[in-house]
Subunit: 152 residues, 2 copies
DNA sequence: GTGCTTGCAAACGTTTTGCAGACTC
DNA sequence: GAGTCTGCAAAACGTTTGCAAGCAC
């Protein structure tokens, strides 16, 4: 929104009230949509599409519109609370920024595998050394074939 | 289409006539659209969007429709002549399969950097060893910040 | 002539935008 | 009351599909 999350957040990430405080501090308003969206979003590390998030929020607030979800997701990403990832050709998925990690996604069966942190680290080190590029592996999944589909 | 490109193609990749021959061998017809599209596509290693390719073909065959381009691109990918890559949020880009490589793409300025082959290889080795995953790094670019934007 | 290929138009799924009214502060 | 946020509708975007006419073989 208008403020960034301080680096001093706890390792498990900010809570709902922390983020609401940030929103208020930045001149934003605390609405029930925002509170419920944050509860849904920060309550799990799962990747969810905007539509899934809308459904979860609508379970409690049926009037909430998908476009409102998109607008809030965008703000929360600007604040650094969330990140989104593209898996294959489907919709983007959203997750808390804390604990974000890289993924392999199978082009055949769409299975996802978390990339081991040491692999991410060596890729990031190599990228920095060779071209000065700072890798942020969370944003795009890396395609290929999972062990099962590669055998077939 | 209905046939796969033999592994014996030259290192610089098949020429227009080679691919047309394959199409014919698979029961397909040789149309002027296909010939021009292949000339445009195989004449350079650049990444081009379907729309750019359509414009290039239309310079010579003004009647060609974008959906025809998409249909032909799909067939050429099935034959293994082409691959497509997703950079950021925009449209997919297409390029000859020969010489395909991984890319870093800057989330800020959209610059792209070719990933050094040895980095790709070590990522692929690590993926295979840790999870049996066979990486195909061409399909998705890896996000981050280029050297210039990372400094800012 | 058979049947693959094309142009066109229309639909698709995801995401964005313009607007007037509703709400938070 | 000022200014932010929302629901709704509509558009934007890249891509896919159905169909009848057209073309390669």
């Amino acid at each position: 929104m208008r403020t960034e999350l301080p680096a001093a957040s706890t390792a498990s990430g900010p809570g709902v009230e922390d983020v609401l405080g940030l929103i208020r501090a930045g001149g934003g308003r605390i609405t029930s949509t925002r509170r419920v969206l944050l509860e849904v979003l920060l309550g799990s590390d799962e990747h969810r599409t905007a539509e899934q998030l809308a459904a979860l929020v609508q379970a409690r607030l049926p009037e909430v519109h998908l476009s409102t979800i998109y607008r809030n997701l965008e703000e929360l990403q600007r604040m650094g609370v969330l990140v989104h990832t593209h898996f294959g050709h489907g919709p983007a998925t959203y997750q808390p920024a804390v604990g974000a990690h890289g993924h392999f996604v199978c082009d055949v069966c769409a299975a996802t595998v978390e990339i081991p942190p040491e692999l991410v680290a060596s890729l990031a080190d190599g990228a920095l050394a060779s071209s000065g590029f700072v890798v942020e592996p969370g944003h795009f999944a890396i395609g290929g074939r999972c062990a099962h589909c590669a055998r077939a």
